[in-house]
Symmetry: C2
Subunit: 410 residues, 2 copies
Amino acid sequence: MAVRFSQRMNEVRASEIREILKLTQRPEVISFAGGLPAPESFPVAELKEVTARVLDERGREALQYSPTEGYPPLRRWVADHMNETLATTVNADEVLITSGSQQGLDLSGKIFLDEGDVVLCESPTYLGAINALRAYRPRFVEVPTDDDGMLPQALDALLAREERARLVYAIPDFQNPTGRTWSLPRRQAFMEVVRRHRIPVVEDCPYGEIRFEGIPLPALKALDQDGLLIFLGTFSKIFCPGLRIGWIAAARSLVEKYVLVKQGADLQTATLAQMQVAAYVEDYDIALNVARACAIYRPRRDAMIRALEREMPAGVQFTRPSGGLFLWVELPEQVNARELLAACVERQVAFVPGGSFFPNGGHENTMRLNFSNMPEERIEEGVRRIGAVLRELLGQGEADAPLEREAVAG
Amino acid sequence: MAVRFSQRMNEVRASEIREILKLTQRPEVISFAGGLPAPESFPVAELKEVTARVLDERGREALQYSPTEGYPPLRRWVADHMNETLATTVNADEVLITSGSQQGLDLSGKIFLDEGDVVLCESPTYLGAINALRAYRPRFVEVPTDDDGMLPQALDALLAREERARLVYAIPDFQNPTGRTWSLPRRQAFMEVVRRHRIPVVEDCPYGEIRFEGIPLPALKALDQDGLLIFLGTFSKIFCPGLRIGWIAAARSLVEKYVLVKQGADLQTATLAQMQVAAYVEDYDIALNVARACAIYRPRRDAMIRALEREMPAGVQFTRPSGGLFLWVELPEQVNARELLAACVERQVAFVPGGSFFPNGGHENTMRLNFSNMPEERIEEGVRRIGAVLRELLGQGEADAPLEREAVAG
C-alpha cells in the first residue's frame, strides 16, 4: 500500500516557474519577478526601539499565548486607520488579525468553498489567491476585466448563470498582476450587482495606500451596506512584510467564523509581532512610511515605463499604474513568455510569465514586471535586456545588438 | 439568496465550553483550563538583547519576505537539536518552519484528507488536533489507549478494517489531555504496525522535553525507517509561545508537499521571529530554559497530585504524569463534568471537561487539569474548591463545609 494524498494535492503542484525563479535569487540577476518591497524603506532602528519598549513594559505578556481575535489595541488601530484612509465604518470587533493577508485567502476558501463551488475573479488575478483557494477545489470563473476593473454586466450575467457561485475575489487597487485600479463608477456598479445577488466578496487590498498620484478611492467595503464585503489588509507594504501581520475586516457574524477556522489553522498570530506593530503605530506616523515607500517606488515606475517605451518592439502593450508594485505587459500573440523567460534568465534578468495569473490558462503572451525592488539603473538595464531577447525571438535583430550599440556609444 | 458557507462549517463550531471559559480569564479565577506555560520562565531580557543584535546586524533581511521553507540557520539548529535530544537522524532540508505546531496539524489535514477519510487517534486526544483536522471532514476512529499508550493490536485490527485509513495522529510524550507517555516497547510495537500498513503518522511532540523525572525515550520518528513519520515540534513550551515558531520534520518528499500547502496558507512564517529564535539558541543554552520551566512545573504537579489525593472523594481516578502540563481525572460515572464546570465557575475555579477530547463524544465524567500556570497555593485552593463542589453534586456533604472547617481551623 502506497501513502495516499488528498485529491487536492493533484492540483496543488510546484510550478515549473518557481524552479526557474529559484535560479534568479542570485544577486547578479536583475529580477522583476518578486513582489518585494524595497528594504531601504523599512524602519529598522524604530522597530528596535519599540521592541525594547514592549519587552521592558509588557515582556511576559508579549511572549505568552493571546486570543485568536488579535491584540485589542492593534484591532482598534486597524479599524480607525481603515475608517480614516478608506472611508469605511469598521469597528474594532469587526477586525481579526491574521498571519499576513495570505492567511485571509486560505481562511476564506475554508469558510466558503466546497469542491465544485464557483469563485469569480478578475482576469488575470493574483497567483497566490489562485493557489490558496485551489486547495478547496473550486471552479474558477474569470470575469472579463478592462482598464477600469471587472465588467459589472459580465459579472451580473455570470452570477445569474452559475448556480454554485459562492465568492467573488477582487483586487480593486493597483491590482496584482496588472497594476490597474477600478474607477469609482465601476466600484458602484459592481456593488449594485453584488447587492442584487447577495454574494460575498473578498476585497484584497495590499497596495491601496501605495499611490503615487491622483486621489484615493473608497474601498468596496466602504460602499457595502449588506455585510457582504470581507476586506483583507496587511502591514507588508506600508510597514514591512517580515512580521507577517495582516487583517480581515468584515461583519461580526463573518469574523466569528474566521476566528473559528483560524483557531484550527494556527491558534493565533504571534503576540510579540502584534505588539511590535501596535507600539510602532502608536509612536510613529505610518503615513511617513507610506510616503517614504512611494518616494522610492515612483521614480522606479517612471524608469520602467520610460525603458519599456524605448526598448520594446512594436506590438507590445503595457499598463501605466498610478501606484502599487507591478505593471503588466502584453507581448505580440506569437510570443510565449515562458520561453522568453528561459532565454532572459541566461542574460541574468527575470520576470513572471503572465499565464500563471489566469486560473483557467491561456494568455501565454503576457508578463508581470515588479518595479519596487530594483534601483532605476538596474531597471533600465533589465528592460533593455528583455527587449533585446524579445527582438531576437521575433527575428527583429541580434540579441547582442544593444550591447554593441552601447559599446559604440561608450 | 442567503450567503452560503461550506459544508465543513456545519462541523467547525464554537464550543459552549469556550464561552464558559471566557468567563474564567478574570484574574480572580483559579484556572486549570488553559495550556499556558508559566510566564516567569520566559527569557524576556535575553530576547530583548538578541532582538537588538538581529536588527543591528541584519535588520533589513529580518523585515523582508523570506523562503517558505524557513530560515536556514534555524532549520539546521532544529535538525541538530532533534538528533541530540530525540535520537533522530534528521537533516536540515527535512525541516519546515511553521507558524506554531498547530499549523502542522492543519497542513497535515490538507495534504492527507479528503471528506470521509479516516484518521486514527488516541482516545482521548488533543482538542486542537480534532478542530484542525475536522475542517477536512474526516471520520475519526479512536484507538483504545491505556497507560502505556495506543494499543498496537487494536490499531492493527482497525487499520485492517478501515479501507479509508489515511493518517494516524499520536502524542506519545506527556499527552494532551492525559499526561501519559508511551513506553518504549509500546513505541516499537506501534512502529511495526505502522510499517506493515504503510500508514503516515503525525507525531505531535510539544511537551517531550518537559520531563521531571525518568529518562527520555526515543521519538517515534527515531524508530521510523520508512519515511512515514511526520514530527511536529514547537518552541512554545521550551522557549515561549508568543513568537509562534514550530516545525515539521519529515522525509524530504513529504516536506515538499507541506511547503506547497504552506505557501497557500500563509506564504511563510515571520522572518524576524525565526531570526530571533535562531539568535537566541545561538547565544543561550535552551536546556537551561527547559530546566527553568521544569523547576517551576514539578512542584506544581506535586501540589496538584497531593491536593487531589486529599480533596477528591472516593471513586475519582487521576493520572500522575512525569512531565508536561496536564493531568487527567476520571470522575464517578454519574458525574457530568460540564455540569461540574458550571458549578465550579461560580466558585471561581475552572478546568476543561474531558468529553471535548473524544472526537466521537462520550466520557462526560472526565476532566483535564493544567498545573503549569498557577502557583502551588492557588493549585491547592482550586482543587479544594473542585472537591467541595464535587462532593455537593454527589450528595456527600455541603459545598460550604470546607470553608467552615477552614474557619474553625483558623
